[in-house]
Amino acid sequence: MKKLLFFLLSLAAFQAKAQVIKGSIDLKDSTITRSIPVEVAAGAKSIKFTVKVYLALGELSVSLTDPNGKKASGGFSLDTRTKGGGNAPSKGELSADETPKIPGTWKFNIKAKDANGTFNYKIEVVEP
């Protein structure tokens, strides 16, 4: 019983220290503009975000903005258009570890236009 209580308390303590947001989006001729809010407490150690995108068609961009709306490092864009007017798939992988200097609501932004493909993301806020 004591062990279970210790396990549950440890789990609660761990959860208090890390906020994880995970998700995946199937892109099917998708045109979306989505911002995922990430609450960052004062003194948070880092925001880690991992993104994997395979884009068969269309355009897509990923960025992270601080509470003031300023773009943080990391982020990328994919575009499948070729010079000849055709399409060629693009792929983007991002593993960023940002030290948040400003507490507040950070935003993980996804913008897609006529996109077909798969999008996977994981955001982890390591709090003090």
């Binding site: 864009s77 994919l78 060629a88 792929k91 983007g92 992988e93």
Partner: protein, 315 residues
């Protein structure tokens, strides 16, 4: 025979010209078996496209030989341009960008016509930290990327890199890393930008920001000049009005005498002209001085300028 020689000459000329519009990239890379033995070079038209993966940006591609060596000529202009060399893992599309992990698959470099760029990646070394040599611009670019990795680097550090940079492109990229500049830093950036060709597509927003940030200064300077001009005009207007008020206090005879004095006549000549005694002229002159608040003839010249020639003529 003559025609053949001419054709050969044209062909050689075209070859020479096209060679002149190229740069060369050669390199050595050690990659594990999960990577394809291919390399790609993209020309990046702006800093915004540095992290854009698109087949349309790739200008040349080639194979890496079994020893890990590769070499290719690629189109390059007279001015510096920003390029990205990248590798892909087996099965990935050509336009794949891997950012942030140890598997980072790209490195940036600067090149212009006739440059010979050399890339070298040691085993276990991330691609982004490989050696790019062949021009001073690339050592400056490497120094900039090292600085950008340092979270504590402030605006002064980036502007300082731009200041010392011999490559306008590396300099502009350094400036683009700086944000929220104070007035002193803006002045510093202004001095640096003055050395660059403003027609470069790179950093167009930097030049624009600089112009906008200076436009308000022009407006303020214009405003100050306008206020000064208005104050001078107002001062002259009221002074002229005051002088006219005093002028009207003179009698017709006194006005005539002032007119003659202003036309350069002596008291004696005034007396002769008006057919009056010299002592009378002197009395009038003393009264005029008292009324106008002057002490000699020279001071009357100021009134000549302010009142204008019509009064002198009238006199």
């Amino acid at each position: 025979m003559r025609r053949h020689k001419l054709l050969l000459g044209i062909l050689l000329l075209i070859t020479a010209c096209s060679y002149g519009q190229q740069a060369k990239l050669s390199g050595h890379v050690i990659l594990d078996t999960s990577w394809a033995r291919k390399f790609y070079v993209s020309r990046l038209p702006g800093f915004d496209q540095m992290f854009t993966a698109s087949r349309a940006l790739i200008i040349v591609e080639g194979d890496i030989d079994t020893a890990g060596n590769f070499s290719i000529n690629f189109p390059a202009g007279k001015n510096e341009a920003l390029y990205r060399l990248h590798f892909i893992r087996k099965g990935d599309p050509a336009s794949t960008l891997i950012i942030g992990s140890r598997d980072v698959n790209h490195v940036f470099f600067i090149a212009k016509q006739a440059d010979e760029i050399h890339f070298k990646k040691q085993q276990g070394q991330p691609v982004s930290q490989s050696d790019i040599s062949g021009s001073k611009a690339n050592s400056e670019l490497n120094a900039l990327f090292k600085l950008a990795e340092d979270d504590t680097a402030g605006n002064n550090a980036f502007i300082s890199i731009a200041d010392k940079s011999t490559s306008p492109l590396a300099g502009l990229l350094a400036i683009s890393h700086a944000a929220g500049l104070n007035d002193k830093q803006k002045e510093w950036v202004h001095d640096i930008l003055a050395r660059y060709n403003q027609h470069t597509a790179y950093g167009a927003h930097i030049f624009q920001e600089y112009t906008i940030s200076n436009e308000w200064k022009l407006y303020v300077a214009g405003g100050i000049l306008f206020v000064i001009a208005l104050a001078i005009y107002g001062y002259r207007f009221y002074k002229r009005k005051a002088v006219l008020r005093i002028w009207r206090e003179l009698s017709q005879r006194e006005m005539d005498i002032v007119g003659l004095i202003l036309s350069g006549k002596s008291n004696k000549e005034v007396a002769l002209t008006l057919n009056i005694e010299l002592s009378t002229v002197k009395t009038h002159v003393n009264n005029i001085y008292a009324k106008l608040g002057v002490s000699n003839r020279k001071d009357l010249d100021i009134y000549k300028d302010l009142i204008g020639p019509s009064h002198a003529k009238r006199a």
